[in-house]
């Protein structure tokens, strides 16, 4: 108990939080602008007539043209977070709008979106505006120190992301078969100088990258944690993520991880970077009173939330153990667990509608309802298949067919294995309820991947 209270009273320079707030906010502002400019708001949220929702969040829907407004508010709040203006209102707004956006359609689900969501939630409880912020300028006071646990909580979250994605790599496909890297590297970009034509298709290199990737993920939080190895660790982070940028269409994720990793550096380093960037500004500002340690309002509540948050974060990725069958095949408990780049998985799934009365049947052309992107994601993920089957059921019932059954003709290929039938073709999917119960209508893979 004493250890805890003494830990909680430890303090660290506020510059670390300020630095993190600024870089995270700017990166998010940029991400939102990028998303907008690529036209994805239209193609992913406005154009599709049907959206795949997360179970329990079916009420979260795109808002037609107002979806642009939602993105605008999200981007603006990210910018306000960056400059530390009305910080608490801004970070709460950012968390809510960003999370709403991610819940609108799970087709676009990415682990790093989830990371952004939960990180912004965590930041609601951190006094990241106590220095180097517009708030502090307006209130004419800044705080030299913040509680140490605030910065540590960000480190813990990053630790979870890296370490858990390392654990997830401990499986048969990744370590013993070097899949899916074998496929991805062999067929990867040959435009890379030198290694493109020499290393990329060598089997030992696939194993080297697979094992190296696992050890990297497992060890990097520790390497960053110790001051002697920190610079080396950061160089590894940059090298690793730049490598993935070159090979894969991976979007903002590498940049988010590179910038976030800087939190492991000392407050002095953060101070230097901030001074370097903000030098012209801070020189002008003289009459801010510098106080010692910030007192977090409702500190106990904040601490309780943060502790519960981390307990959930530590346990949640293991929820897959509650389900039978191979995780990579059934994907029950796959998301929100830092399982990144583990699968080369493709599916082909079509649906047969059967009229119960006269047993007439017909197949559905998926492109009548889904975009190419949605169809691709639906074809190998069971919860998508079930949700879509129910959508089709409702659609055809509305159009006059009363008693119908919906069957899926589905094939999936995983990590270089030949494709196999995925959904039991004799199961009427309309009879299967959506939800967290085990999806017994998925045919087994009959191979052990031994996921961790």
């Amino acid at each position: 108990m004493e250890i805890i209270t003494s830990y909680l009273s430890k303090k660290q320079e506020s510059t670390s939080l300020a630095f993190f707030r600024l870089s995270f906010g700017l990166l998010m502002t940029f991400s939102i602008i990028r998303f907008w400019l690529k036209g994805w708001i239209k193609t992913m949220y406005i154009d599709p007539s049907f959206h795949f929702t997360f179970y329990g969040f079916d009420w979260v829907k795109p808002l037609d043209e107002y979806t642009y407004l939602l993105f605008f508010i999200c981007g603006l709040s990210a910018f306000f977070v960056a400059i530390g203006y009305k910080y608490y209102l801004s970070i709460i707004t950012f968390f809510l709008t960003f999370t709403y956006i991610e819940l609108m359609d799970k087709t676009t689900y990415l682990n790093h979106y989830y990371f952004v969501s939960i990180l912004s939630f965590l930041m609601i409880f951190l006094p990241a505006n106590s220095s180097y912020s517009v708030d502090s300028y307006l209130e004419k006071k800044s705080y030299k120190y913040s509680p140490k646990w605030c910065v540590d909580s960000i480190k813990i979250l990053l630790f979870i992301v890296y370490f858990y994605s390392g654990i997830a790599k401990i499986n048969y496909d990744w370590l013993i078969e070097a899949q899916p890297l074998k496929i991805w590297l062999t067929t990867g970009s040959y435009d890379l100088p030198i290694i493109g034509s020499t290393l990329m298709q060598q089997e030992w290199f696939h194993y080297f990258m697979s094992w190296g990737g696992m050890f990297y993920d497992l060890l990097i939080p520790f390497i960053l944690l110790y001051s002697r190895t920190r610079i080396f660790g950061f160089l590894l982070v940059v090298f690793f993520h730049v490598f993935t940028v070159i090979l894969f269409p991976i979007g903002m994720f590498p940049y988010i991880m590179i910038i976030s990793s800087l939190i492991f550096f000392t407050s002095q380093t953060h101070q230097k970077i901030l001074d370097f960037i903000l030098n012209p500004l801070t020189k002008q500002i003289k009459n801010i009173k510098e106080l010692k340690v910030i007192n977090i309002k409702r500190k106990n509540l904040a601490l309780n939330v943060v502790v519960i948050f981390f307990i959930i974060q530590f346990l949640f990725p293991f929820r897959y153990t509650l389900y039978p069958g191979e995780l990579f095949w059934n994907e029950q408990g796959y998301r929100f667990s830092w399982r990144v780049m583990l699968m080369e998985k493709r599916g082909y799934t079509t649906f047969k509608i059967v009229d119960k009365e006269n047993k007439n049947s017909f197949y559905v052309m998926n492109d009548s309802f889904l975009t190419e992107f949605q169809e691709r994601q639906m074809s190998f993920q069971p919860d998508f298949i079930l949700e879509y089957a129910h959508f089709l059921g409702d659609h055809y019932k509305k159009s006059g067919l009363n008693e119908i059954e919906v069957y899926a003709d589905s094939y999936v290929a995983l990590n270089g294995r030949m494709s196999k039938r995925f959904v039991d073709p004799n199961v009427d999917l309309l009879k299967e309820k959506r939800g967290f119960n085990n999806k017994s209508w998925i045919l087994p893979l009959n191979e052990k991947i031994n996921t961790f």
Partner: protein, 375 residues
Amino acid sequence: MSKIRLILFSIISIFIVVACTSESDEDQILIPEFDRSTILTNYAENIIIPRYADFKLSLMNLKSSVDSYVAYPMISTYDKMHNDWLDAYKKWQHIEMFNIGKAEEIMFFNTINTYPVDELRINENIVSQKNDLSNANDYSSQGLSGVDYMIHGIDDTKDKVIQKYTDDPKYGEYLKNLLSIMYTNTNEIVQDWETYKDSFIQSSGNSNSSSLNMITNDFVYYFEKGLRANKIGIPAGVYSGGNTLVSNIEAYYSSMNSFQDVSKDLATEALIASENLFLGKSSTGAVGPSLKTYLDYIYNADVNKENLSPVILSNFQEAKQAVNQLDENFIDQINNNKIKMLNAFDKLQVIVVNMKTNMLSLLSIQVDYIDADGD
């Protein structure tokens, strides 16, 4: 601190040892890289460009026979025109899948082979002497399918059709205009390939917009929709609750009014064209680098455990057999024994599954040009 360093040191050394042993386990033979541009070169030089040249030539023939028929509407000129039409339609089966470059830009395949045609609209166009058919609503009133209606569909016998052309010059004008549009478009694409070829071959990376990804997507899309669904599935009622739609077959009027039963010929030609592309086989029978070669390379590089290319080739054999068992006239086949059509559909479906799951997966080709992030 020293304890932690010791742990750290030992973990890193395990890492290095593992990395090195996994290296020395292997034979030290370097696997050469696969040059995707060899496929592109073979596809462009030996398949796409010559097949386009063939099609252009067949259109030239059809164009001149249409000209003489319109000038002298009689049995002899008619028969030559019909034969040239069929020849052009067969040649077309070898290029419909190449919806890339200029062809994609001008919606070429929509303007040549949209069916069923819109009879009402064609007749309106004939009466109003409409020449500009570039509007998307006119896709179903032109092309080789449009010619099918113009020479086999405006009446139900050869004599009556010829009589119509004799009585009203507007029919001839419309027919000549269809040929002129097709020829102009084809010529434009043929000329474009002269310059497009180099950039097509040079784009040998693996991005979504690289040539092999685009051409493979076009191929798979064509096979699934243009061949499997349009030629077989839709008319056989696969998508319409068992209600067959015979008027949706390709070249409907030729079969319908008993001019010549051509549906099976066209479908067979399309299936052979698809197999040829997979094999890298040109019209001379020479075989070059192809999707098959690439899959063989992947297999030989130990990326996967069962070679996919022989599987797909035997799928093609079965599909060809199933199509071969069909009646020359798909209307009769559908009306008399739908099951054989559905059987052919299933055999084509197997190829679609193998291409869309296994082939695209092993070659890391994303479905279509979806622009999105991954993680």
